[in-house]
Subunit: 443 residues, 2 copies
């Protein structure tokens, strides 16, 4: 009786190899198909603004979630839950009748066939938007790629969290003061916003959490180094912001090494042109390059791996292929080398592209992209932040509050805002970080 | 100049092998040393109640966090952030002057030497409390151990979340209906509280999330099976609770197979004495056994892997070794085979043990443990729960609200309570689960 209710298996069918599924399993409808590669800031904000469009929309990303990269450093330093900075990519367009998400890795564009090749099969497009973002750039230094920890994904941020906490645990088990030194030192490569924010957050962890959590360690011995190639931190920001962020980091006890070039790293010692630093952890925020997919003409890709794009968002020489966000270098008078690779640029380009694609469908002419600079900012610690707005610069507590507000407001998903706010309030009031958890096997 | 400020490395010291560190690096003080093995409910509640004791306290756990196991199923089913059900074990006794946590795996007790052997070295004790909990029991079925997914740790719960979501993604890429069936079927082995709660939660995910998230999948095809060896679910609970939970699960479309024995599982097909079920995922909640450390007399360990303990908490024949929680079988008239392996028993025993240890230090006689049964409960879904209190049983919305309140109240850490409440409120109001994230590499 029960036998029949269970599903029987056709042994024959079992053995047949699965043919590759056409168009990643997305069925053609009467709507023109728009394929979007990448669910970062540009891709997500494009999708969200296509709710009323008549496209069949296919979003492809190798993760099933959007990552709010500006807050990854807080995941890495035990301040925020990983899930708060991620947002499910199946969700943004629930009311659109023909929206499809596919988790796949893009391998190649075959523009002659209007086709994308992924690790899960191919898919045809009528319109294509490339928003594949940026990848960590090691500038050809293989040892660094092998031993340093990058921070572009949630998984990488969690790995940093695990490694830092794990090394502190490990430091309790050694007699050797030099080994202990290596285990408690942390080197951060790159003095841009990510490096500065990481350094500040780790320094606050050392100040507020470590003395209570690790009574058996000499906290003074643990050093945090921030290494920057150029003569100042936060290069693209104002001189005031650079100077103040340096002052803040020094207050928190960060060793800042400017004008210093990293030469090599073997997982034990960071070699620089100014001397060596023993450290089991080096966080790499040294640079990014565009994560362009293969298949485009070499002439279309800049030295920094970005795709050359006209001011309408169209890839040069392709009417139906667009690129935006970090991977795109949109031509403009103000920014001849492309707009800076910032979340705010990507968000504005996403919205802009939605409008242009809908104009295209209506037979209207495409508009040129105009960037509205709303300012840049970085936070170093409690009541320590720097903000550059057009014609208005400020630092300190107000800047910090502005930073908090802007990030909370920009965070994708209302639930994420609530959970993040809860964590921040708790951390602020209690000088605490309860997500100092090693979630992985105990080794 | 800068060279000098960087730390130089002594190449010689580098090469010396590290001697094993004595007592896991914990220095002896004038206080008698109490070593506690395990930071689960029993260990954590013991530690928390020793704030005013004169012991040197050393807590050893293989994770650096406590795990609130009753809510792991919500992590596994995308309802809660992983970090909300974990609590840092370095934190509970911040005000005690001589509290030490060590992340290490206990391997053996050498009671003749008053010593514990761990994977990180040995440590001497004056008093020892064994609170190592329970481990998943596969009843000797190696295939099941190899292919089924257990759920005792945060990491295991996250693995379940990743696998379920990943298989749904995978199902989009196949032509073969039987392969698709296997990818979307989920089998839950064990009809105790964990199995029932998992089945209910997955069934609600299928009902509320899948139709919107996976428009390309035929959701009706995805089946959820709950397999129980005995003729009823929730065996230890009342008949009313068993019957009602079954009714609720049927309403949610769970296929319940009682009186069914699982024989084998190869990762593709679950073999039972009533027929076969194709499924790429089998969650195993089939049973636990005590996770007793080696080194105790064989005669001290029961068939279920629990340590025989007198009513004062002392291990039989050992004056200074105690055991509590899931790993302990404390003798009592009401429960000749030991108290049930429940969080509430462990919490009460933790508190009880703190009192007894302090009595011991004052030369007072030890008290016998008395369990105060406050009831048991399980939740199946929205407004669907069952509660058995002594002399009072109820089900439905009230039971569900009681379940929510009790779990929120019991959750360790105020921040965790806040974040969990936020998630629950969101999930309830929006029929949503925003933590449906695959956080791992994209493969």
């Amino acid at each position: 009786m029960m036998q029949s209710s269970l599903q029987l298996i056709d042994e024959e069918a079992e053995k047949k190899p699965d043919r590759e599924i056409a168009d990643l399993g997305v069925r053609r409808t009467e709507r023109p198909r728009l394929v979007i590669l990448g669910g970062g800031f540009a891709g997500l904000h494009l999708v969200r603004n296509l709710e009323k469009s008549d496209f069949q929309i296919v979003l492809i990303d190798k993760h099933n979630h959007h990552t709010f990269q500006p807050l990854l450093y807080q995941v890495a330093t035990s301040s925020l839950e990983a899930d708060s900075v991620a947002y499910p990519l199946r969700k943004p367009l629930r009311k659109h009748p023909d929206y499809h998400f596919r988790m796949a890795e893009v391998q190649r564009i075959v523009s002659g066939d209007n086709t994308i090749v992924t690790n899960r099969g191919t898919i045809e497009y009528d319109y294509l938007v490339i928003a594949t973002g940026a990848r960590t750039n090691y500038f050809g230094m293989d040892n660094i790629k092998k031993h340093a920890l990058p921070m572009k994904t949630v998984d990488e941020a969690l790995k940093i969290r695990n490694e830092i906490l794990h090394n502190f645990e490990e430091a309790l088990y050694t007699h050797d003061p030099q080994e202990r030194q290596k285990l408690t030192n942390i080197v951060i490569a790159g003095g841009g916003p990510t490096g500065v924010e990481l350094a500040g957050s780790i320094a606050e962890f050392r100040r507020y959490i470590m003395p209570q959590d690790y009574p058996d360690l000499d906290i003074e011995q643990s050093k945090i180094y921030l290494i920057e190639l150029l003569p100042e931190l936060l290069g693209p920001m104002s001189d005031e912001a650079s100077a103040k962020s340096e002052e803040y980091l020094q207050q928190l006890g960060v060793d800042i090494k400017k004008d210093t070039k990293i030469l090599d790293y073997d997982g034990e010692v960071v070699k620089t042109d100014q001397g060596n630093i023993p450290a089991k952890i080096m966080l790499w925020t040294g640079g990014v390059s565009g994560a362009f997919p293969e298949g485009l003409d070499d002439g279309l890709v800049t030295k920094k791996g970005r795709i050359k794009v006209g001011e309408t968002g169209q890839v040069m020489g392709h009417e139906r292929i667009f690129a935006l966000g970090d991977v795109a270098s949109i031509e403009s008078k103000d920014h001849p080398k492309g707009y800076p690779q910032l979340a705010s640029v990507a968000v504005q380009q996403g919205r802009f592209m939605a409008e242009n694609l809908m104009r295209l469908r209506k037979g209207k002419s495409l508009k040129p992209f105009r960037y509205k600079n709303k300012g840049t900012m970085a936070t170093i610690g409690r009541k320590k932040a720097v903000v550059d707005m057009p014609g208005f610069k400020f630092q300190g507590t107000t800047a910090w509050l502005v930073w908090l507000g802007v990030h909370l407001f920009s965070l994708v998903g209302f639930k994420n805002k609530l959970v993040t706010f809860t964590n921040w309030a708790w951390n602020y009031l209690r000088h605490d970080r309860e997500t100092r958890l090693i979630i992985k096997d105990s080794q």
